[in-house]
């Protein structure tokens, strides 16, 4: 091969490359989609998970929608509040408060609470199982526990508990992308605030005590929780209570009142009020404030917190002398046995705890 052949090869390929380069350049000029600097800056703030929880096709789509003013800044579930704050700074708006929402299982129909109709030997998939005879559980609304949500989750945040055989959400890992909510054929999953302490653990719309034959954790629509709530945060909707988490203070009185345990509460994190006797001046503001009649004390005398305290924290907020702190409970109630304790929850010498004001 002569030097000429080498040169020809080099020149032809170079010219080809140059021509293509020029072509690309020209095409880029002609066909460039006008990029939006605001959208690019917004895109930088987003996490890039492309999960679609915001309702737009990926982070790019959401960034463009925000830049055009079609979407609010706080819609990114994965990025959360820090992301919303950065985007708000770019857009020059107020971020507002974004509540972190996580997937929540509205069913406690584990193996011990809700029995099986029979032995299911089909495909290990909830959609397949839900098509046959109203599901495999006695309750046709129950979590089937075959892991369709687990497989849908891109963040490894939802798992089928090996003992309970129902879905359990890892609140820390959940990014709020709603993929599991869409995947669940039983509609057991929904998005609820991550910092909630009470959860409606049943979504069976049927009523009456007969339900307990299907599942002993079923909501029988007795409305005891609605009556127990001193903050008007619970309404009945489709035969199950619905909690307004804007109003809920986390006193867990509803869960105390629930006869079946359908209302789940994180009792282990429950606090109680403690009045520092050295600071209390006996103004009785707290006794008036308490919606559970859990503080006794006459004017000018040191007040005392009784066992009926639900740990709602209202008194601590109102005390003008800052004498009240919320501390871990000294004597935790026996919450596991709810059916028995619903009638007489605690030693409450003054009034019964459920009597309201």
């Amino acid at each position: 091969m002569s030097i000429i052949a080498i040169l020809t090869a080099a020149i032809v390929i170079s010219v080809l490359g140059l021509a293509f380069g020029a072509l690309l350049g020209v095409t880029d000029r002609v066909f460039r989609t006008p990029s939006n600097p605001t959208a690019d800056a917004l895109r930088e703030c987003l996490p890039g998970a492309n999960c679609g929880a915001c309702g737009y096709p990926g982070c790019d789509g959401y960034a463009v929608a925000v830049a055009e003013g079609k979407a609010p800044v706080g819609a990114c579930a994965v990025g959360g509040a820090p992301c919303a704050a950065k985007m708000a700074a770019i857009m020059g708006v107020d971020a507002g408060e974004t509540v972190r929402m996580v997937a929540t299982v509205a069913c406690q129909g584990s193996a011990e609470h809700c029995g099986d109709k029979g032995e299911y030997q089909g495909m290990t998939d909830c959609v397949a199982a839900s098509l046959v005879n109203g599901g495999t559980k006695l309750c046709q609304y129950a979590c089937l526990g075959l892991g369709t949500c687990e497989r849908a989750c891109p963040f490894d945040a939802i798992h089928i508990d090996p003992l309970k055989k129902i879905a359990v959400v890892d609140k820390e890992k959940c990014q709020g992308c709603k993929k599991c909510v869409a995947a669940c054929p039983q509609h057991v999953l929904s998005m609820q605030p991550a910092d909630r302490v009470v959860t409606v653990g049943c979504h069976n719309p049927e009523k009456g005590v007969a339900l307990k034959e299907k599942c002993d954790r079923a909501c029988i629509a007795c409305e005891a929780c609605v009556k127990a709530c001193n903050f008007d945060a619970i309404v009945m909707e489709n035969g199950v209570p619905k909690i307004d988490y804007q109003k809920c203070v986390g006193c867990m009185a509803c869960a105390d009142a629930c006869p079946t345990g359908a209302m789940e509460a994180e009792f282990e994190s429950r606090k109680e009020a403690y009045i520092d006797p050295s600071k209390c001046v006996g103004c009785t503001l707290c006794t008036k404030q308490c919606k559970f009649d859990a503080i006794e004390g006459a004017l000018k005398q040191t007040h005392k917190v009784l066992g009926a305290c639900t740990g709602c924290g209202l008194c601590a907020e109102k005390c003008p002398k800052h004498a009240i702190t919320m501390r871990d409970r000294r004597a935790p109630r026996n919450k596991m046995d709810k059916v028995k304790k619903a009638a007489a929850p605690v030693k409450a010498p003054v009034k019964t705890p459920e009597s309201g004001k």
């Binding site: 032809v12 490359g17 293509f20 095409t27 989609t33 998939d125």
Partner: protein, 191 residues
Amino acid sequence: MNEILTILIGSIFVNNFAMSRFYGICPFLGVSKKLETAFGMGMAVTFVMAAASLVAYLVNEFLLIPFGLTYLQTIAFILVIAVLVQIVEMVIKKMSPGLYQALGVYLPLITTNCAVLGVAQLNVTEGYNLILSVVNGVASALGYTLSICLFAGIRERLALGNMPKWMEGFTGAMITAGLMAVAFNGFSGLI
């Protein structure tokens, strides 16, 4: 006409790109978990292969052969395909954002796919003219779409079935692909 028919049947069934030539196995295994995405990939491949056959033929006929540079086919074709895919992507993005959303993810993936280079090389070695090259490009891609869609359908069913633990996921997929290739082998006496 007869020749076109022979190429069509030959490229779709007998010499199926994925199943008997074993080209483009990476996306064949990677993008075949869902029928929907598999079909999207197949369409993108069809699009690129038809265009690549056309341009590669022109480059080979009017640039490489006159200069006696046919030994540079591989590098020239790669250049052509890469540029082509980039231009096509830009044009689609501008002209049809809907199609861009549908194909967008797959187009860059195809840039360096051996199936596309393979069809350009095959056209040259078989000595096809311009029309036959494009027909071969489209037919090969349709054959690829057929096999990847069939495979995706089977994998969707397998994912739901009660497979032994050691057969789940890629193990089962590989064995399925092998069995499919055996089945496609049955077409070999057709032409």
